[in-house]
Amino acid sequence: MSRKFLGLVLPLAILIGWEAIWYLAANPLESISRPSQIALALMHGLSDGSVLLLTWQTFESALLGFVIAAGLGVLTGIFLGLAPQLERLVRPTVDLLRPIPSVALIPLAMLIYGFGVRMESSIVAFACIWPVLLITIAAVRGIEPGLLEVSHALQLSTWQRISRIVVPAAMSRIAVGLQLALAIALVVAVTVEIVINPRGLGYGMMSAQQSLQFDRMYALLLWTGLTGWGLSRLSQTLIDHYSPASRAQLPRSPA
């Protein structure tokens, strides 16, 4: 309890100091809004629904891209994890594509799709697919060989082997990969909006800055942080609830 209280000290001190400067300084900087103004701007934005609309726009693209990447990554990962020879064939190509920064593809995606959800989610999907793919391959590889031998002994079909043995055995580690990808999805979505795409929280911040509504800009920044934090807490809770083993397995996963 005292630890939690300790954590509040510094943020509160910063806020109070920040607010105090406004009263003490002769002519304070207009571009550094007061915490109270920021809180008001956030409340205002939330009550007129504009912040929620921006949040929804960001989530729409982030989640769509995440779902595409998760689906493709997990399926391909299971396939390649079960076929090591094929994986050796594909791996160098993946290793060459993976270091390409996803944001470098923004202009290309804009050329193909124009502004909007599709362009943003395609970038998100490109960014998210690599961690999902590589962690899924590693997860399938890490399955106890005995389990796969049992499935051979039971003469399960390939489909049964995947659905009854492989997926349940690898799921806890795949979930960690998905959690990582979800965090990346939100970051990339906001980045695409900051750079070019006129929708969502990132664009909201840029346009607030350009129209000199600094309190709104800081409010959106705070809100973006809160949603990111909320999303990571939510995914952690889901993982803890559905696969408590994944936490214990995390340190064992290869980098």
Binding site: P107, V187, I194, T224
Partner: protein, 257 residues
């Protein structure tokens, strides 16, 4: 011998797979089954890249992007390690800072771009600040983790040997935390490259990010791909170098298992 042979087969298979993909792409764009505007044939892309490499057109922006990335990343790494060591030493600091760190971890660094533009304008300073800020968190969190998990007995040995505080840090704490720090620094480097590209696009600063954007606006897609390939090469080489450093500096650790 057979091992070497097997390796050779694997490698040639991998190269064949890559060549097959490129050939497929070439055929598809040759017969215009995919739009050659969006997906120019590999032959055109690579000949553009080759020309730009030879006439030197692509080197200045490449160098600009690399320098941007390295400046921000080095600043973030040094600062992250020092701050991490300080935070890990004191329970009070951890208690004070933990919620802020937890809050900042999932935060997109690019979200601070509007604020940084406000503070610095569309300048290199803005870009370096954002890059350093973004790649600070992975290094810092890894450093805290690393310094915290230093074996207590090592400090006892250091006390017994009456090492000075500086020696304690450089001979005991830092080497022991290095694997974690290196892992964090590798993530930080990837973040730095991404943010270098983002800030170049956002603030029209010279570099490959700006090149990509201008190539797109002029519909010169082969040039766009050439810059994207260069960025991929930078990322690949940078992480490869760091991996090599990691193996090199941590060799003593592997020897002890």
């Amino acid at each position: 011998m057979t091992r070497c042979f097997k390796w050779l087969i694997d490698q040639s298979g991998a190269v064949a797979f890559m060549a097959g993909l490129l050939a497929l792409w070439q055929i598809l764009s040759y017969y215009e089954l995919i739009s050659p505007l969006f997906f120019p044939s590999p032959a055109r892309t690579f000949s553009t890249l080759w020309t730009q490499l030879l006439d030197g057109q692509i080197w200045p922006p490449t160098l600009a992007t690399v320098m941007r990335m390295v400046y921000g990343w080095v600043a973030a790494s040094i600062f992250g390690v020092i701050l991490g060591a300080l935070i890990a030493r004191s329970m009070l600091a951890q208690g004070l800072l933990n919620p802020i760190l937890e809050f900042m971890r999932p935060m997109p660094a690019s979200a601070f771009i509007p604020v940084a533009i406000l503070a610095f304008g569309l300048t290199n300073q803005m870009s370096t600040t954002i890059i350093a800020f973004g790649s600070l968190w992975p290094v810092l969190l890894a450093a805290i983790q690393g310094f915290r998990s230093v074996d207590e007995r090592l400090y006892e040995v250091a006390d017994a040997l009456r090492l000075s505080a500086r020696e304690r840090f450089f001979k005991v704490a830092l080497p022991s935390a290095l694997p974690d720090i290196m892992a964090g620094a590798r993530v930080g480097l990837a973040v730095a490259l991404i943010l270098a590209v983002v800030t170049e696009m956002q603030a029209s600063l010279p570099g490959l990010g700006q090149n990509i954007l201008t190539a797109q606006r002029a519909f010169r897609t082969p040039e766009l791909y050439a810059s994207v390939i260069m960025l991929g090469v930078i990322g690949f080489v940078a992480s490869g170098l760091l991996h090599w450093c990691e193996r090199h500096t941590l060799r003593w650790r592997q020897a002890h298992g």
